[in-house]
């Protein structure tokens, strides 16, 4: 296999859709250690840049990506508390450090991670920005010196990103190793502590992922499936790669081991066949959860979803109800092309007899999926691949095994009074970002997370528009006959006198999704401060 080389002209040029999401262990032991000892790297994805010679926003170069940036830089500042100065400001360590240990315990070296915040210089003061850096360096415990750590090598690996709403920066002070230090300055004692003493505590911190009140959407769905399968023996899962592969997107991880192959069924690549089998099993009284690897493949089975599932209760006058859930990722991912990027909310949402849900947060995903599995009607559950890895805060109530979110009720994510923005799935996140941007201009937007495409919460939407008098709908799907069209029609029909301006739709572009990154960005709504150049 050819070595992957994505570093050109000193910059990183990843192909669209290529995701570089290393764990901290990978950063320290696969990349930084090898770089330090001049061993070959797994992939050439990290350019060498003196990160302190530029301001953080300049580091992106001409890439428009919002992903984390990784650079090999000098180890300036790792040994001492000096500030790292850049042309327009300064990086300041927030005082916490974290030790990263090799889980196989074969390597004696240890990684050290520092968190820094960029402060911009403005006349006489410095102002904190949302730019965060995690600077990793490596150190060796010196046995003859009581195992105190000595930093080695000339490189550090820097991860630089912009803090976004909802994303937690992992090293908050509560997790900090140097708990005694409350000053924001760098604590030099880290190199003098006893190696053994700290190891247990750090090991726990190094390997615990989310704190008790944060959850990724992936974990939310997995836990919901787990709990519902545990509670009702009639619930079973069916789909491609849901079992041994642990799920194409690792959503069903661990379920095969826990429930066995009778209840977590790997199917051949035959959507029409296995969807029909799922619906037939539901006729007989079981409660299948059928996974489509993406909803693009549901088109192969759409006859069974609509004609065999949605319409049966009606045609049989209530004799045959179909308690089935069809779930899977819907809408665009990143760089997967026209055949793998369509949003099906509008198509399924138009069909009587179906319930169609589109979660956004982890709470939505958990609660709506549990409600869907318990519902006696066929439910289409539209997830989003790019949301799977996102973490959201969850309440203790959400984590309870009987937690359900009511189907057919929207959620007001952000209260406002000037304009109503209605969105679902990933676009809720974008809408919240847009609301933040609008707030700086003095516009107070109300953001509604639909949660349920069918039944549509017309009451909530109308109530909101009657308050704000303006409506904007946001969706990823194609504009013609979309979800936004139905929302606009409903508001114009029911709340016409309340509107101060025509209703507005924001939707995906009226084209099959292109592959090239720049025009793919143009094919979907984006949240940004200025209008997008064509």
């Amino acid at each position: 296999m050819d070595k992957l080389n994505f570093v050109r002209d000193g910059g990183r040029k990843l192909p669209p859709g290529f995701r570089f999401e290393p764990t901290e262990e990978e950063i320290v032991f696969q990349y930084l250690s090898r770089k330090t000892f001049s061993h070959p790297l797994p992939a050439l994805v990290i350019p060498e840049i003196d990160v302190f010679s530029m301001d953080p926003w300049q580091l992106a170069g001409d890439s428009d990506s919002e992903e984390d940036m990784y650079f090999f830089s000098n180890a300036h500042g790792c040994d001492n508390e000096s500030e790292r100065v850049t042309p327009s400001g300064v990086w300041k360590a927030n005082g916490s450090s974290k030790k990263i240990i090799n889980s196989s315990k074969r390597m004696p070296i240890v990684g050290i991670k520092k968190s820094l915040v960029f402060y911009m210089r403005s006349s006489t003061k410095i102002v904190a920005t949302n730019w965060i850096m995690h600077q990793y360096c490596i150190a060796l415990p010196q046995q003859e010196q009581n195992n105190c750590l000595v930093r080695i090598g000339e490189w550090s690996l820097c991860r630089i990103f912009m803090k976004k709403g909802g994303r937690q920066v992992e090293d908050d002070d509560a997790n900090s190793y140097s708990a005694s230090s409350s000053s924001p300055n760098y604590d030099p004692t880290i190199f003098n502590e006893n190696f053994e003493q700290g190891i247990g505590a750090v090991a726990l911190r190094a390997y615990s992922s989310s704190s008790a009140n944060k959850m990724t959407v992936r974990d939310a769905i997995n836990s919901a499936l787990d709990e519902e399968m545990s509670a009702d023996p009639k619930v079973f899962m069916m789909g491609e790669e849901v079992g041994e592969y642990q799920g194409a997107y690792k959503i069903t991880k661990g379920l095969l081991d826990k429930y066995g192959p009778q209840r977590v069924v790997d199917t051949p690549i035959t959507e029409a066949g296995f969807t029909g089998i799922g619906v037939g099993a539901a006729y007989h009284g079981l409660r299948p959860v059928v996974e489509f690897m993406t909803f693009n493949f549901s088109m192969q089975a759409i006859d069974h979803i609509i004609n065999s599932a949605a319409k049966s209760n009606y045609m049989s006058a209530g004799q045959i109800s179909v308690p089935i859930v069809f779930r899977g990722p819907n809408g665009a991912a990143s760089g997967v092309g026209a055949q793998h990027s369509q949003c099906y909310a509008a198509w399924f949402g138009s069909c009587p007899g179906l319930k169609v849900l589109a979660p956004y947060s982890a709470e939505d995903a958990r609660g709506l999926l549990k409600a869907a599995i318990r519902d006696p009607d066929p439910v289409v559950f539209l997830e989003n691949e790019l949301l799977y890895g996102e973490s959201f805060p969850v309440s203790a109530e959400t984590l309870d095994s009987s937690f359900c979110v009511p189907i057919g009720k929207a959620k007001i994510e952000r209260e406002g009074k000037d304009v109503t923005i209605v969105a679902y799935s990933k676009m809720v996140g974008f809408s919240l970002q847009a609301a933040d941007i609008l707030a700086k201009e003095g516009i107070n937007a109300e953001v509604i997370n639909l949660r349920s495409i069918r039944p549509l919460d017309r009451a909530a939407i109308n109530a909101s528009v009657r308050k704000t008098n303006r409506l904007v709908t946001v969706e990823e799907g194609f504009p013609q006959h979309g979800v936004g069209a139905e929302i606009c029609a409903t508001v114009v029909e029911d709340s016409f006198e309340y509107l101060d301006a025509p209703v507005q739709r924001i939707a995906g572009a009226d084209v099959p999704t292109p592959y090239a990154a720049n025009i793919e960005r143009m094919a979907f709504p984006q949240a940004c401060a200025s209008s997008f150049p064509l």
């Binding site: 029409a272 066949g273 029909g276 006729y283 007989h284 049966s312 049989s316 004799q319 109800s321």
Partner: protein, 390 residues
């Protein structure tokens, strides 16, 4: 000789309704008779069952009566359709009665049957009544689907009948799903997924068969080969019209579908096989006298001689009549009387069904969901016709 007096209440009795115990027969009605099927079975990857079928006078007389009832029902439906009391599609089963009746004799109500749109007689066999059938055909509220389904959407869940499906071929994966559920629940019962020679070319059938074989599902795929998929003869639609062989790794059996006893034997054999070894295909060689549906005269793609030829040589009711007479189980007159009774039963059911009212307008919005969650639903005029789903 005491004849049972037919009263209106008897219309609601389901098949097999006849009781010949009241007849003063010298032979005990459950004594065993062995009959040879007229044609041998042909097997594919399996040893076919024996041609000798165990039956009894009771069973043979029940076969006769049930098939005569079904035949009469379908002919009556023909007249009702021409009188415009039945609308839309109407696919008639006359000629194919032996498949349905022979299958019922081999199975119980825990076993499931699912079929396509030619479902009136199978519905009757699973315990449906004449009143429910005719009322549904005429779109009245006493129909089995309360008038909301129509000819193609008869269901009887408590009798193990899962419809009644309009999309050609869709019922086969659904049937394999029923079998999946039976295996999952450890029911020790099987599913018969019925389809025609036209549907036999559907891709989803092979997808479902693959999974049924992979997972050893107790599914029996029954191809009712009446040799015409709508207007297309089998040799024009299928490169290989040997439908019992199309399962490849799945064994198959070719059966004379006009012989109720052969059908019974094959279904009994298939059920034992499916419970132990997974799916099996049964091809029933049968024939329909009517066209594909009521809008098809049935003579543009086949000759009238062919139709009358089959009726003369292979008619399923005539075969049983000959058997009954040959074994002296009843006289000609008694059989003719049975046919008259059956005709009267059908006529009374139709009269009662005509009295049944059409569904209440509120039924437009009922049963959209099993649990409506109080959502709003709209009619054509959104301002006037709107309701809340319970």
């Amino acid at each position: 000789m005491a004849q049972l007096i037919r009263r209106a209440a008897a219309l609601n009795k389901s098949l097999p309704a006849a009781s010949f115990a009241a007849r003063g027969l010298a032979t005990a009605s459950t004594s065993s008779i062995t009959v040879e099927t007229s044609l041998p079975f042909t097997g594919h990857n399996i040893d076919p069952p024996s041609r000798s079928v165990e039956t009894s006078p009771q069973e043979l007389l029940t076969f006769f009566r049930d098939m005569a009832l079904m035949r009469r029902m379908e002919i009556a439906a023909d007249s009702l359709y021409k009188a415009k009391l039945i609308r839309g599609f109407c696919h008639l089963y006359d000629g194919q009665e032996a498949v349905c009746v022979g299958m019922e004799a081999a199975i119980n109500r825990k076993d499931c049957i699912i079929t396509a749109y030619r479902d009136h007689c199978i519905f009757l066999g699973r315990g449906g009544t004449l009143l429910e059938a005719f009322a549904e055909l005429m779109g009245r509220k006493d129909g089995c689907s309360k008038g909301k389904g129509g000819s193609m959407h008869f269901y009887k869940k408590e009798g193990g009948f899962y419809g009644g499906h309009g999309i050609v071929g869709a019922q086969v994966p659904l049937g394999c799903g029923l079998a999946f559920a039976q295996k999952y629940s450890k029911d020790e019962s099987v599913t018969f997924a019925m389809y025609g020679d036209g549907a036999a070319n559907q891709g989803q059938l092979f997808e479902a068969l693959n999974m049924a074989a992979l997972w050893d599902l107790p599914a029996i795929l029954v191809c009712e080969n009446n040799h015409y998929g709508m207007g297309t003869a089998e040799w024009r639609a299928a490169k290989s019209p040997a439908y019992y062989k199309r399962g490849d790794y799945v064994p198959g059996l070719k059966v004379d579908g006009m012989d109720a006893l052969a059908v019974k034997q094959a279904c009994k054999f298939a059920k034992e096989h499916a419970l132990k070894n997974g799916p099996i295909i049964l091809e029933m060689d049968t024939y329909r006298y009517h066209g594909h549906s009521m809008s098809d005269p049935g003579s543009t793609y086949r000759t009238r001689d062919e139709i009358s030829g089959v009726r003369q040589e292979r008619d399923p009711i005539e075969r049983i009549r000959k058997l009954v007479l040959a074994h002296d189980l009843a006289t000609e007159k008694e059989l003719k009387d049975t046919e008259k009774e059956v005709r009267k039963e059908v006529d009374e059911a139709i009269a009662q069904a005509k009295e049944s009212p059409m569904p209440d307008p509120s039924e437009l919005f009922s049963n959209v969901y099993a649990k409506g969650l109080g959502t709003e639903s709209f009619g054509a005029d959104r301002k006037e016709v709107r309701t809340v789903l319970p």
